[in-house]
């Protein structure tokens, strides 16, 4: 059994200051140099490691209930802990769909039982994600799960009137609509970014305008009704422009990008390797650069994984038949370091913002938003920024292995994850199942 008191010696805080962080009873007792530790404290040599507030993923598919062959709450949160996440927001496209208080409470309870990370369910905007009638948003908001984020992710809330009503209605509960922006008619059977390459490969194109037109409509709706709007996984340069314009007008909009859209381009699809099939699709290099700039200048508020596990047979097939999605929890931080930190676009304070404090604020996850002040909940991630290695499948801890990064050299390695003071990841090794739930208490 690990002691419940840890001293993280010589860690570098996001501010750049070096501190000894004392973690006791689930709280940060002190984060200053020369902190002394009581007897029985486990000392972690954190010299050279960067301490971040525990990472928060606003966009995770945990697949349970309904698709347990791909992932469960337990396996998905193990992957989260291995990737440095202490909280994940579980998307609603399960079976049954998370459109009632019963389902969201069940998912949250499964998260508590697993203990590897805080699981906050996201509620569906419409019943069965069908895009026809609002689901019981109020009941989900007032349930034990305390849902604040609502999304039909995987599908777009494309009916304009329904979207307006949803934006208005969630104001009642301080909620936010997270929109998966994809015009369904413009993307019927679409397979990859529409451009010269899709034409050459003979794969049906997914035009940028199918995303941008929905974002443009939704920011105008959000402005009109004075509601909060969150845009999931921006993937095009045009989307960044629209969000930047909307923010300049004062629209209450926040935006997200995924790690894969910040690193990978459509060129990979020349192989027809379905591991690169994702929704929204990988885009051009110009789009990747625009997304990176959007993160750097704050237009894009957060980075979220869109962790989307699929069984092997869903990817070992021809492109058209393959499922959309990539796993991303374990690779997220290395990709962010590689794409944004190593390139000088973001410092570690910025990483703390886009991967922890900003998503926690959007999702109203108050106990995850800290800057190492005394008494803050001890959700902490320690990263070795000097590490660099070829990404291997053995770094995955979920049930599925559909990563696009196998064999790709990525910087940075998550060494320790503390969830409310409990070490779910210990020098790169996951805590054994069972211990974690114990540690939660």
């Amino acid at each position: 059994m690990t002691s419940s008191t840890h001293l993280l010696k010589g860690a570098t805080l996001p501010s750049g200051a070096v501190a000894d962080i004392l973690v006791q009873d689930g709280r940060i007792m002190s984060a200053a140099l020369g902190t002394s530790a009581p007897a029985g404290t486990t000392v972690v040599d954190a010299e050279g490691l960067v301490a971040l507030p525990g990472l928060v993923d606003l966009h995770t598919h945990l697949r349970e209930p309904g698709f347990e062959q791909s992932e469960t709450v337990l396996t998905g949160t193990r992957a989260a802990a291995a990737g440095g996440f202490t909280a994940v927001f579980a998307m609603a496209n399960t079976q049954p769909v998370a459109d009632t208080a019963g389902v969201v409470e069940q998912v949250q309870a499964l998260g508590r039982a697993a203990g590897y990370a805080t699981v906050r369910p996201i509620g569906a905007v419409t019943v069965g994600l069908a895009g026809e009638r609002l689901s019981e948003i109020g009941a989900m908001a007032q349930s034990r799960a305390g849902v604040r984020v609502f999304s039909d992710d995987g599908k777009c809330v494309h009916d304009s009137l329904l979207m307006r009503r949803a934006l208005e209605y969630v104001k009642t509960f301080d909620g936010v609509i997270a929109q998966h922006a994809q015009d369904p008619r413009l993307t019927e059977n679409a397979q990859m970014n529409e451009g010269a390459l899709s034409s050459e490969l003979g794969l049906k194109g997914w035009p940028a305008v199918a995303e941008e037109s929905i974002i443009a409509r939704d920011v105008l709706l959000a402005e009109h009704v004075g509601a909060r709007l969150h845009i999931c996984h921006l993937s095009t340069a045009g989307s960044v422009d629209v969000v930047r314009w909307a923010k300049a007008r004062g629209v209450q909009v926040t935006a997200e990008a995924t790690p894969h859209h910040l690193l990978l381009t459509e060129e990979l699809i020349r192989s027809y390797d379905a591991r690169y099939k994702v929704n929204p699709p990988l885009r051009r290099d110009e789009d990747v650069q625009a997304l990176r700039e959007g993160v750097a200048d704050g237009t894009i508020d957060i980075i979220a994984t869109d962790h989307a596990p699929h069984p092997r047979e869903s990817k070992e097939c021809e492109w058209d038949a393959a499922a959309f999605g990539m796993v991303g929890l374990e690779s997220a931080l290395p990709v962010v370091q590689t794409a944004l930190v190593d390139t000088g676009l973001l410092d570690w304070a910025g990483v703390a913002r886009v991967l922890s404090t900003a998503p926690a604020r959007i999702g109203r996850l108050d106990d995850h938003s800290h800057s190492f002040e005394d008494g803050a909940p001890a959700n902490i991630t320690l990263v070795d920024p000097a590490a660099s290695s070829s990404f291997a499948l053995d770094r995955l801890h979920g049930r599925s292995t559909n990563t696009p990064y196998e064999g790709v050299t990525l910087s940075g390695s998550v060494r320790w994850t503390f969830h409310h003071g409990y070490p779910t990841l210990r020098d790169g090794v996951l805590a054994p199942a069972g211990d974690t739930a114990e540690g939660m208490r």
Binding site: A196, S199, L203, E318, W319
Partner: protein, 318 residues
């Protein structure tokens, strides 16, 4: 050559080599005994996930004339028409000892997925995948052009400076794509003519000129080769153009346009034709038409491809 997946990755020398071997195969087709013992003991599987009687029997004739055993596996409509089963199907064929797989699939890239996989070691020939490529069709088209332009002395020749105009549904046409890459590699100049809705997105970066006006193109380009593509009726339902009448009037090869074309130009069509829609009966049956030659040449090209893929010792994976 280990597989034939696309014309885009053929070099000029490789392409001419295939065309030259096809000349030898064509010679054999003029003999009384049309069969060669070359692929005796080899098994070629025709794996058709999409109906195409013409292409299937052409490959079947080619394989049989090389004495290969031919197994036809029509997956359409059966339990294996679902995507997940490409792997199972391939492993089944491998267990049956297939040396070559000729695959026609509705999904672009399926032949490449098969070739890259470790499910089967056989040589893979793309017999048409989705809206991607149809390399043997392009090769037989180039072969047909070469024989018409250099009667009796086509061996070793390329198509340098030959003006080719391809008309019709470029957007959905794997034939147009394979032809473009191959014709450019062989030195020809390619112009696509289509309504703007049937021009692929981003075509500006392709090595082809694009025009919406057939009459103007015939006047200004004076094509050596006019290739008419088949128009499928479902395109009308999807509102790519208003109706068949308007299409035929704007982009069909009617008798007037045939006259404007001149007697030295050749008229090609990959078949099957919609007479009266993209091509008039008179044009289809004219002396300029190569439609039946294309069918005969298809067997020679496919014999050449099967020979080059399957006769020698298997090349090691690069």
């Amino acid at each position: 050559m280990r597989h034939l997946l696309s014309t885009r990755d053929l070099t000029r020398d490789q392409a001419i080599h295939i065309l030259d071997v096809a000349e030898d195969m064509a010679d054999v087709q003029t003999r009384e005994v049309k069969k060669l013992p070359t692929l005796r003991g080899k098994t070629v599987v025709n794996l058709f996930f999409e109906d195409s009687t013409r292409t299937r029997i052409s490959f079947e004739a080619a394989a049989k004339r090389l004495s290969a055993d031919v197994i036809t596996f029509s997956a359409k409509g059966s339990s294996v028409s679902k995507g997940e089963s490409l792997k199972d199907t391939a492993q089944t064929l491998a267990a049956m000892g297939a040396d070559g797989v000729v695959i026609r699939h509705h999904a672009s890239g399926a032949p490449q997925v098969l070739a890259q996989s470790d499910w089967i070691d056989a040589g893979v020939v793309n017999a048409g995948d989705g809206t991607h490529e149809h390399p043997t069709q392009a090769l037989l088209d180039a072969f047909t052009m070469r024989r018409r332009l250099h009667p009796g002395s086509s061996r070793g020749k390329d198509l340098d400076g030959v003006r080719v105009v391809i008309v019709g549904d470029i957007l959905h046409s794997r034939v147009a794509r394979s032809n473009l890459w191959l014709l450019r590699t062989l030195g020809a100049e390619v112009t696509f003519v289509a309504p703007a809705t049937l021009v692929p997105f981003g075509v500006g970066s392709w090595p082809a000129a694009v025009s919406f006006d057939l009459d103007e193109t015939l006047r200004s380009i004076r094509p050596d080769v006019l290739m008419m593509l088949r128009i499928q009726s479902e395109r009308m339902n999807a509102a790519y153009f208003p109706n068949a009448r308007e299409y035929a009037r704007q982009w069909g090869l009617d008798d007037e346009r045939l006259t404007a074309l001149g007697p030295d130009s050749i008229v090609m069509h990959p078949g099957p034709m919609n007479r009266g829609l993209e091509i008039s009966a008179a044009a289809a049956d004219s002396a300029q038409s190569t439609v039946l030659e294309q069918v005969a040449n298809g067997v020679s090209i496919r014999m050449a491809v099967l020979y080059l893929l399957l006769s020698g010792e298997r090349e090691a994976l690069a």
